[in-house]
Symmetry: D3
Subunit: 326 residues, 6 copies
Amino acid sequence: MAPLDIPRLAVGDRVQHELLVREREDKQTKSGDPFIALKLGNSSGVLGANVWKEDVPKLQGVRPGQVVQVIGTIESYQGRRQLKLTAPPRVVPLGAASADDFLPRITQSTDELWARVDAWRAEMPASLRRVVDLFFADDAFRQEFSRTPGATRGHHAVVGGLLLHSCEVAEIARASARTMGGNIPLVTAGALLHDIGKTQSYAVELAGFDYTRAGQLLGHIVLGSLMLDERLATLPPTARPSDEQRLELHHFIQSHHGIPEYGAAVRPMTLEAELLHFADNTSAKGNDFADAMTDTELFPSVEQEFSAKRSWRLERRVWKRTHRWD
Amino acid sequence: MAPLDIPRLAVGDRVQHELLVREREDKQTKSGDPFIALKLGNSSGVLGANVWKEDVPKLQGVRPGQVVQVIGTIESYQGRRQLKLTAPPRVVPLGAASADDFLPRITQSTDELWARVDAWRAEMPASLRRVVDLFFADDAFRQEFSRTPGATRGHHAVVGGLLLHSCEVAEIARASARTMGGNIPLVTAGALLHDIGKTQSYAVELAGFDYTRAGQLLGHIVLGSLMLDERLATLPPTARPSDEQRLELHHFIQSHHGIPEYGAAVRPMTLEAELLHFADNTSAKGNDFADAMTDTELFPSVEQEFSAKRSWRLERRVWKRTHRWD
Amino acid sequence: MAPLDIPRLAVGDRVQHELLVREREDKQTKSGDPFIALKLGNSSGVLGANVWKEDVPKLQGVRPGQVVQVIGTIESYQGRRQLKLTAPPRVVPLGAASADDFLPRITQSTDELWARVDAWRAEMPASLRRVVDLFFADDAFRQEFSRTPGATRGHHAVVGGLLLHSCEVAEIARASARTMGGNIPLVTAGALLHDIGKTQSYAVELAGFDYTRAGQLLGHIVLGSLMLDERLATLPPTARPSDEQRLELHHFIQSHHGIPEYGAAVRPMTLEAELLHFADNTSAKGNDFADAMTDTELFPSVEQEFSAKRSWRLERRVWKRTHRWD
Amino acid sequence: MAPLDIPRLAVGDRVQHELLVREREDKQTKSGDPFIALKLGNSSGVLGANVWKEDVPKLQGVRPGQVVQVIGTIESYQGRRQLKLTAPPRVVPLGAASADDFLPRITQSTDELWARVDAWRAEMPASLRRVVDLFFADDAFRQEFSRTPGATRGHHAVVGGLLLHSCEVAEIARASARTMGGNIPLVTAGALLHDIGKTQSYAVELAGFDYTRAGQLLGHIVLGSLMLDERLATLPPTARPSDEQRLELHHFIQSHHGIPEYGAAVRPMTLEAELLHFADNTSAKGNDFADAMTDTELFPSVEQEFSAKRSWRLERRVWKRTHRWD
Amino acid sequence: MAPLDIPRLAVGDRVQHELLVREREDKQTKSGDPFIALKLGNSSGVLGANVWKEDVPKLQGVRPGQVVQVIGTIESYQGRRQLKLTAPPRVVPLGAASADDFLPRITQSTDELWARVDAWRAEMPASLRRVVDLFFADDAFRQEFSRTPGATRGHHAVVGGLLLHSCEVAEIARASARTMGGNIPLVTAGALLHDIGKTQSYAVELAGFDYTRAGQLLGHIVLGSLMLDERLATLPPTARPSDEQRLELHHFIQSHHGIPEYGAAVRPMTLEAELLHFADNTSAKGNDFADAMTDTELFPSVEQEFSAKRSWRLERRVWKRTHRWD
Amino acid sequence: MAPLDIPRLAVGDRVQHELLVREREDKQTKSGDPFIALKLGNSSGVLGANVWKEDVPKLQGVRPGQVVQVIGTIESYQGRRQLKLTAPPRVVPLGAASADDFLPRITQSTDELWARVDAWRAEMPASLRRVVDLFFADDAFRQEFSRTPGATRGHHAVVGGLLLHSCEVAEIARASARTMGGNIPLVTAGALLHDIGKTQSYAVELAGFDYTRAGQLLGHIVLGSLMLDERLATLPPTARPSDEQRLELHHFIQSHHGIPEYGAAVRPMTLEAELLHFADNTSAKGNDFADAMTDTELFPSVEQEFSAKRSWRLERRVWKRTHRWD
């Protein structure tokens, strides 16, 4: 059965699907009756469902991180679509569920993103491509890279977020290299490699995205360099990059956060490393703005022009313009 | 007579041209003899000339900011080309010289840059173009904009630097808007308008670039907004942008430095303002890197791989890679 | 009917007045019964009123920002005066209420403050007075200036706060100019003009003080300079200040926050601008201290010597001395 | 013989006086000849004197910190008055000279400043005055306080600077207490006591102002509190301030720098301590501005409108307005 | 009767002891019934006790800071030991209780710590010991020092914490002085004296640890120096340390926080003062780590490897390794 | 021939040895004559030698980084010992000289330091020792580690400085682990491994210490982790540490600078990592203090009590106490 397409649900639609319990809050109505606010989701989005007084006992044992079979219809509650359960949700045995299918996911096509990556690889000079291919021509790595989020929370924190973010960084860095006279294939390689350490830093689980032990203790920047050297060691000595070339690739990884305060081991010392750093920020902050516009905590009412409070990701309020330019 | 093309001079070339005295230093040789180290320049570059012991008295009265007629030949001194004067330089009367002709200048074609600006204007929706044209369809403003540097010292500190910088910012911002889903004509308008206040902040004089009184007391960001309102007031009321549109344009100017610490009155509150801010930084820092590579204070010897000291513009050392990627 | 004089109410007093609903909180007693904690106010102050279990339904539809007709008596609850409602409050139609009458207001006489402003204007040299009068001799502006708060929350956040704050700043700046050898009329003009942009930055509404769109997107400092140039343009050319004089007045506005981190476009470059900056801070922080002493969140009990927590406005705890000096 | 009145010297005046050698620099003319640039001074100011080639040997042994008998005439050199020595300066034996007579000094009358202090003391309530008088009714302390500078370099770094600064602080703090509702005698006591530790922190010697060992190791803030407790211990127990009163006076001393980063042990926790802090800053920065206007390093040419570089005391450039307001 | 040994209680144990009410929270069960969560403690630790619905009224008037007689048995609740009350707690009259007996206390033996202090004193040269003994040979001071915590909340915030912390600092500073060539007895004296001001800064009361008025208004660093001078004044003049020696001891106190931002009046200017500063930090942060490992807010579940959130004392997450090194 | 023992040279001693030219400055006497100030050194120290007017030409071609054969005698010049050359120095061919013999060196015995290291290794549990021995049981690594400085300039910037620093850190960390309850062998392993990356970051050359390309582009922290993984890969799989153990060792390296601003990839998350961090700082700053006491730029005169200026390594002035404690 095709997964439920949450963004397209309309009032009155009937739902009989497996969904992941993302959140459960036990609350009380103003009149003192217990109710449970659920957030249920899959890779297409998240849907609220309130369970009232008499049905509360039926949810005993239902916890975030579980996949449940739900039956109900879509109704409108306080101006938003919501699921009205017509039967108590039934917990689906763990083995049958894959986290990737139930966590939020990029809306872009993974295949199209990989096609772009592959086109960029095809243009690279041999010495550069040999290193990039250690990762990006390896199916196991591609699969891992495809499912890793860009962060546990924050920018691109969705399945596929790392792939999308890396492509955005590459595109912006390529454009600025073109304008500012930088080496385009080189900065592209930097963009593809800069965040590879995130594949070992973040865990994708039904309970959500989390840090791995290595992610906590070392962070993705160090892990990226360790991964690079580990794969370089698998190349026959004659095919390895020169010492300078190897150091330049490590330098992209180590400097991409720009300054030590933000985790860079060193500041960017080449034009290309600097352009990569700005492209990385541009993709991250651009994604923060896009997410802010649809964040119901920032804009609880659709009439609002300014966010009700500061976005913690952007550390400021944001503006949703109401005018047009035409 | 065509101005001297300094970058193309070869040892043995004969020089008989007007040049601007950029610097004069009265020094002593190790053996205690007086000599004068001159830096002479025009819009194409700068050339050193040492005047030795017996000729020192002939330079009495020659000061930076004067244009002089020089006669001499190009010779090699400590591995660099230098002018050997065969006659004492003669000061040219002030009236005859225009600062723009003697100060360093962008190497790009001004016409080509304007062609890009005009193509972008042509694509803008009417409401936006009307405002942009208040400046960019005004020949007097274009002339002023063409000669203003991007800074008195620092990035793009050459005649035409503001035009070049604005075009770079527009290009990078357009590319990132394309990638991140921003409004391309709008961010282009922001890029063109963001630094207009610099035309009133910097003075272009034979003695070099300097701040104007208004530049010192208010800075280019406030001046930009004052200029915008001044020109908007010349539009017939019906042709004026709406209140929201006007505020959005001011917001580009006021937020483009990103954070108050760097002079922004407010932080960027829209995706487009954020993208403009990053594009501004990318152009500025990219230019800093390009200049660093040819800065003889940073790289006194051509064999050096790392700059001898920190670049004050980049606040770090920079690396000139010696390897190739092929 | 004269508005209720809240600070003078005594236990047993009967109340039958229109009051603004400032806050409404739906809570539960320890035994689980619903009750509503109201804060009702007018320009003289704020009064609490709890509505218990059986009357809760009568408050349906009563929301902050509404003016209600209340009937009740003053009683003592947990050591504080409180209103006991004897009938459900009745919502008064919107058209009949003006925000200024129901929001908190300075206790000082507006007329006396204006008398001081007018006396200072009378002492100014003609060139200075002509500019100051563009605003302070204009009745519409005076009315606007009279009702604007000094902030939406924070120092002088009451109707009339901007007028009071400007007068305090003027007085302190005049005294320090006298001591330190500054130009007294000039620093007075700076004090009157420094915050004029706040009239366009803050909205005074029944729901409370808020930022306007312009206040959010540009801030009061930029708006002040735009307003100054707008009014200067209305002077006949011969009556306009010189370029230097105009820049000096803008410089007061742009530098009064002292450093860029706090929003100054430039740092104060004259003695008078520096004195204005310190006077501005002194008035603001002095007002913060005065408010802290009567803040029941900081001093929940009257016996307390030190505030129970940090004042967010002062970022520290404050001390209410219990001794006298005599 | 009355000391030389340096500010009133005119070209052609004859000088035969004792002056302190403030600086001595051994230099060379452009033609390679040795010469010595002296700065000679007394309490009224400083005077330059160049000693040329043939007279250089006569200055052997003349060092900064010595008092010399000079004979010469005033002439004009590069637009400034300067002393032309007609005989080699003769070193005056050390015992005969007092540092106070030869170091720069405030131009205000010490007696008038003390008269103000005494008037303020007379207005104080008894409990406060008893503590203030421990210092300010003690002739030995007054003498010490009269000669201490406000700093070794920086604001009020002249003999009498501490007295002048303390009076300025008192005046500004009194005015702001009047405006903001503070306790005027209390803030005056705070102003008089806040810097008493400087009398033990700075040494006044012919070689100039310097830190004492205690000033280096503890700083004037801690020393002030130690001095206060030392003198309080001399009061009969019944005349001592209460514990709270004593702590409040210490609190003025400990908090007057406002924040720990600038040396405050604690932040000001009362209105009066806060007002004292701002008054302290206002006096210091106001003095920095006054000094900047006559600083020939900042304004090497009298035509300059903006200082040639940043003032290190103000950390910014300053503006000398050329227009008038009338 | 011996006080209850809380850490050693086992399920089923019977309790009939006096305990201090540390916290009381009035809450509701999910089904809406009221209950009270108590935290009861003595010097050995803290124990939870929930009082359910029907017994809630019996706890009327029981407040934190009171000592109560409790009767009950130990049971297991959600995996933790908890007290089940079998009778309502009875409030013990105030006079009968000493705060020291009921607040948490160091687990180390006070006598052993004093033995170390005394051994260190015995090794000190006479001039140093004379000053140290002014405090550490005075029984009243020792008693005070024994009961003072190291902080009101934060590191060593238990009865005896100051003594333990001072010993830890001394031991670490002695070891680093041995390694780095510092004066061992001197740095030991610094370690013993550095925090003496805390005895006047913190109050030990049944309601918990709190700041005294002097602690709020001046802080422990200034108080330490005032205490030192007060006791030095009691020495006969011939037995007093020299001026330099006295200043060096004050310098230890004033510089031990390292930088002004953290409260140091001056930065450490000697090797020994620097070593003391690092030893102070090492003891404080080491204690923070030890406490974090047993903090149930950081590690709500015993299976957790990483703390659930940041420790506010360490400003980071901490790791509880699960492996062994053997 | 044994190398010259510079610290033991006495006036009148005859010198005929090879020394490294550390600095050469071409200067002029006050009377305008040229002279050359040389600094000559070997592993025991540095010696000044001035070459006067007539001998200047004989030093043509003598440059820093060369080893020269010098002949002369020790004389006293301005209170310091200095070499008077009796013959022009003769340049020794490059091949014959090893940088280690001519650069400054620790005064401690390398053998004794290694003995301590080996004793610590002997106490380690097997799983820990296996990793430590990958480096410290490898003669090639020991040789490299023995000659690496602790920094290119700054603390321990001498041949052998890294070994000495690592031992100091180990000793201090062991003592604080003993006091604070940490794992002693583990923190010792951390101390030995924390700076291994410096062996690849610094170059030891006759011209002095410098950064390698890898040191510039990545820094010693990243290099340390890359080196660790490289050597771990050489262990047979069964002998490798577990994943957690490996991460803990990397965590020591990555966190030892404490906070990102100072280069840490992550903050220390275990007690042992925190203790290592403080021990590292203690050794570094302790060494800074020791060096400051003998630095003739800080103490140009032996009578000085306070350094003439701030130490750039300690960012403050330092105090050389003149009293004794006995």
